[in-house]
Amino acid sequence: MAKSLLFPEFKVVRDENRCIACQVCVRQCANDVHIYDEEDDQVYSQEETCVGCQRCVTLCPTRALEVTKKEAGMRPNANWSINHLRNLYKQAETGGVLLTGMGCSEDYPIYWDHLLLNASQVTNPSIDPLREPIEIKTFLGRKEEFLDTDWEEEPPVLKTQLAPQLELSVPIMFSAMSYGSISYNAFRSLAEAAQEIGTFCNSGEGGLHPDFYLFGGNIIVQVASGRFGVHPGYLRAAAAVEIKIGQGAKPGIGGHLPGEKVSPDVSRTRKIPVGSDAISPAPHHDIYSIEDLERLILAIKEATNYKKPVSVKIAAVHNVAAIASGVVRAGADIVAIDGIRGGTGAAPQVIRDNVGIPIELALAQVDERLRREGIRHRASLVIAGGIRSSSDIIKAIALGADAVYIGTAALVALGCHLCQKCYTGKCNWGIATQDPYLTKRLNPNIGKRRLVALLHAWSAEIKEMLGGMGVNALESLRGNREHLRAVGLSREEREILGVKAAGEGW
């Protein structure tokens, strides 16, 4: 058999002075990296299969383990990077499309890190969030152009019928991650946390497990090209419905849940046979135009008695502003835009790392375009794709977003170490797997607690930043790009972002 030219990505360093051969690492590694030799009463490691998930390192009771990036011994070459070589070897051996998980990990500019926030000094007092209320509650849905009020009545009566809204106690929601791509316990953690906090999680395109109907008031359900698990009860159970057109990690292509992850429970939820691959087509085969999209939006509104906002999720691509304008005109109440760093459970690596545009630029352009066309109020803007911190969120709001979706950040809170192997179904952290031996590792009570803690922490930070700017409601910051300044960006980038350079005054 031809020798594989692949080389280990990680190095497992075991401090023999500390190792007590307790075998915790052996039991915790789903990739069989650690092996116990009973005769020698010693644990050995074979690093070929190590994915660098750090599970063993975290659980080792004596801290005897260290897993580090293995330096490949080849002569450094700026053009032929180690990653390129590895992919070449792999494809020469397999002849296949390389899969990966999570979001784009290439070194493209991250605009959040080039945007700085303003603060109050002397002429406009800042606000102390511990002493004064700061409102970060957010409503998602179509806003009215005029409010017709009958002032003759006592008290006055609002005559305009308001469009259905989602009420968020924080401007943060959990992105679409299907039960199937993530485990029952992971989904449960998200749903329980969303309920506790007063926000929403998203079912993804995997249908809704019967246990989660209980959390329907805090779940946005997705209707995607595969239509998995979609039925009237599913739409009725949810707080809102999202039509998924695209995903930041894989714009233009469909979804693929490997059969390994289609457990009996997942099969019931998706209404597909156990062990069969769940393939979502690249396009919706009933949507080839904005008009087709409008028909689906209307059909969903009809099916839900016009009681629920309908969201449309698209990936940030070159013409995103025009597309978003069409989506709003098609009747979407919420437009969700997923940038190039958006995560996935499985995508071709070449797509993930090369297709789409950064969300910051897409957001600025979409907000700008909708305003210019006078239709910004007709839909809320939710952005997704690589939101890492409360400062990313507040910058997004200032750039024009109504709220953000977080996916990767939520999974990291649950224990994800970004090994990017979600597609293998062997997640050692019990998140992106359906293996009952692994799913137990995520206790949803702990998961919920950690997610709630994260959102509490970010809320507090958002309030601190708002207070510093002298703004007492998030609503007042929304789309106010005067609160942002750019550093280290070209004039063109600043223009696209609509942000002045740091140092420029009003």
């Binding site: 002075n17 307790c22 915790v24 039991r27 659980l59 009771p61 995520l442 206790n443």
Partner: protein
């Protein structure tokens, strides 16, 4: 009384409870020494049982009508007034194994070397939270 509750659906079979229990009941109380320096190695008083995907850590339940206590011919097994834990006074124990024979859960161990002293969960005498509970990374054990 406070008892250790088992949530088997979250037991990940890592056996950190066993490891920490062993260390707690070792002579040095230090993990590396307890494993590599102490001969004989002390015994964990909690045991993880596994079958297929199911696993759980089991230790003495400190039963209200503890049969091990009732059947101990020396009075070595006793109930601690303060914590209500069923403890074994190792000085009185004669290694007759009546307790092992009586325990419906099979959670009493014979000490490897001395073959005299029954080793069983003592709720980590004096600890606010037993070490198996404290060190369970997935909260599959709770002390409540």
């Amino acid at each position: 009384m406070k008892r250790i509750r088992i949530h088997e659906e979250y037991c990940i079979g890592c056996r950190l409870c066993e490891i920490n229990c062993l260390v707690k009941h070792s002579r040095s109380g230090k993990i590396i020494k307890a494993f590599r320096g102490e001969e004989p190695r002390s015994l964990p008083r909690v045991r993880v049982e596994e079958e297929g995907y199911l696993s759980f850590a089991l230790q003495c339940r400190h039963c209200d009508d503890a049969p091990c206590l009732e059947n101990c011919p020396t009075g070595a097994m006793y109930r601690d007034e303060e914590t209500q834990a069923v403890l074994c006074d190792e000085d009185k124990c004669i290694g007759c194994w009546m307790c092992i024979m009586s325990c419906p859960l099979g959670v009493i161990q014979r000490e490897r070397k001395t073959k005299k002293v029954a080793s069983k969960c003592d709720l980590c005498r004096g600890e606010e939270i037993p070490v198996c509970v404290k060190n369970c990374p997935n909260e599959a054990l709770a002390y409540e």
